[in-house]
Amino acid sequence: MENDLIVEGQVRRFSLGQVLRKRQRPPYWMIVPAVFLLLVIVVVPFFISIYTSFTQLDQYTIGNWMKAPFVGFRNYIYAFTQGSALGASALQSLWVSVSFSVLTTVFITPIGIIAALLVNTSFRGRAFVRALFLIPYVLPVFVNAITWRMLFMNGWGLVDLILSALHLGSINTFWLIGPNSFWAMVIADVWSSWPFIYLMVLAGLQGISGDLYESAYMDGATVVRSFFSITLPMLRPILGLALLLSTLSHFNNFTLPFIMFGTPPSPQADVLPLNVYVTSFQTFNFGLGAAMSLITLILMMIPAFFYIRMLRLGNETA
């Protein structure tokens, strides 16, 4: 009797589910606020930005913005040739941004993997260590940036003190201006973002069955061999996602260089978002700023495209 009821319930549920999903009209009004907001604050500004990039909109023409002269591709040509009045050209910034995001990702990947392997098996105090490993990542970026600005201060910052005490460098290395500023930015960023890879790898490690390692051990595989033949191949999907997301978010990192170096930064550390910011909001050259941000976006689309492909939208269950 009871069994029958359950079976009946399941049959009914199945058909009703179909009715609910397919025949019933979705309550569209519920999605309207989200669509409306996103249209007004993201989509429309996006197109305004494209239009602006073809005009000479600046602090003088904004009062009569409809008459801002249309200049075609001049902003794009300027972006690649001379750039903003202060700092680097967009082409130089592009190079800084690409090397920054690729280099940091390359550095944090092994660090994150090693950290995840260290805490993957249980030991006394693991919860504490795991919490400790998260701290650099969860501290707000502006706090990290202020911290590293101080650590890299010339003459008395901890980095210079340690380097000179070990006779590895001068007490006056000048980390925050000139060519070293790029490396100061990379070091600070590596310190604050490696736990991202660590978290992703940790999540990936949960999915690897212990049996694999056991049979590998039986076959006489060393730990190193197991790592390269089992762990790394099994981690490939999540690691791919992690590397893409990391590259994307590093490319967009504005806060760290903005606070570490102030504006305008040395050309060697003038990443694209910062350059767009200075061009737009300090020299008020909105047209040029928009052109530079579009160049950024087009570049970002390359990793973003692969990211969206990896997520396989539409395959997930509704």
């Binding site: 500004p45 996006f46 260590v129 911290t147 970002m300």
Partner: protein, 274 residues
């Protein structure tokens, strides 16, 4: 072997942090004076930081702005993610795709037209928009809303549909089903969405540095007052600055630790802090 590794990592993490704590307890006049050990512990930094910059006001602004942003984002995302996860309709995939795309758009690219439009509206209508809480909150939604929608979508997918059908049979409208059946189930997801969106707002510097004024500035912008006095030739009160940084950063760390187990789930679903 593992022990050595963990010690190296622990030093790597804690040496900079320990130095920050140390400087936060060093008298301002002694920072950079040659010795890294202060002559006495200057608890005073934690007192005077409230006076040197309007830290309490800044923290209050941050709480208001990030709180309203997170609340709005969570509510709007709740409604939209329910429709997207329970129904198939034209434009559904486009909507989901645009949520992801929006998270990859450089924020500075949106700030620029938003700023231009705000200035034009200000000039045309003679109203003041830049510096208002509302303006900052709406612009924060540019990153908080796509993030919140995407995060809630994965929570929504994990809620069984059976209960809702029971509610439907009892004659509830879709909205009643959402409020009475789905909302209590998804409440943990809502809390996580709220907290993460709040923290996104808390950490923002870009939008706040352009769209706030001295009265409505967030703590992230307020702390820069210390640094900018140095850039304009004054002395930087490093001791106080470190004390204030810790004050604005440590609560965030504690909140994150509290929600630690949700972070990994959120990350694996592709929702990442910027």
């Amino acid at each position: 072997m593992r022990f050595v590794g963990i010690v190296i990592f622990a030093l790597f993490i804690s040496v900079p942090m320990a130095y920050v704590v140390l400087v936060s307890l060093t008298p301002d006049t002694e920072v950079g004076g040659g010795s890294i050990w202060p002559s006495h512990i200057a608890w005073n930094n934690y007192v005077s930081m409230w006076v040197t910059v309007p830290l309490a006001q800044d923290i209050f602004n941050s709480i208001i702005i990030s709180g309203c942003t997170a609340l709005l984002a969570a509510i709007v995302a709740l409604l939209s993610s329910y429709v997207v996860s329970r129904f198939r309709f034209r434009g559904r995939k486009t909507f989901m795709l645009s949520l992801i795309t929006m998270q990859t758009i450089p924020q500075v690219m949106l700030l620029l037209p938003l700023f231009v439009v705000l200035v034009i509206i200000q000039n045309t209508l003679g109203v003041r928009l830049i510096g208002q809480y509302g303006t900052v909150i709406v612009t924060y939604l540019t990153f908080a809303l796509p993030f919140a929608s995407w995060l809630l979508l994965s929570y929504m997918a994990s809620i069984p549909i059976e209960l809702e059908e029971a509610g439907q049979i009892d004659g509830c409208t879709r909205f009643q089903v959402l409020m009475k059946i789905v909302l209590p189930l998804i409440l943990p997801g809502m809390v996580v969405t709220f907290v993460f969106s709040f923290l996104l707002g808390w950490s923002d510097v870009l939008f706040a540095s352009v769209l706030t004024n001295s009265a409505s500035q967030t703590v992230a912008v307020g702390l820069q007052t210390y640094i900018s006095t140095g850039e304009s030739g004054g002395t930087v009160f490093w001791g106080q600055l470190m004390a204030a940084s810790l004050t604005s950063g440590v609560p965030v760390v504690i909140i994150f630790m509290f929600f630690q187990r949700y972070i990994i789930g959120g990350l694996a679903n592709g929702a990442v802090k910027g």
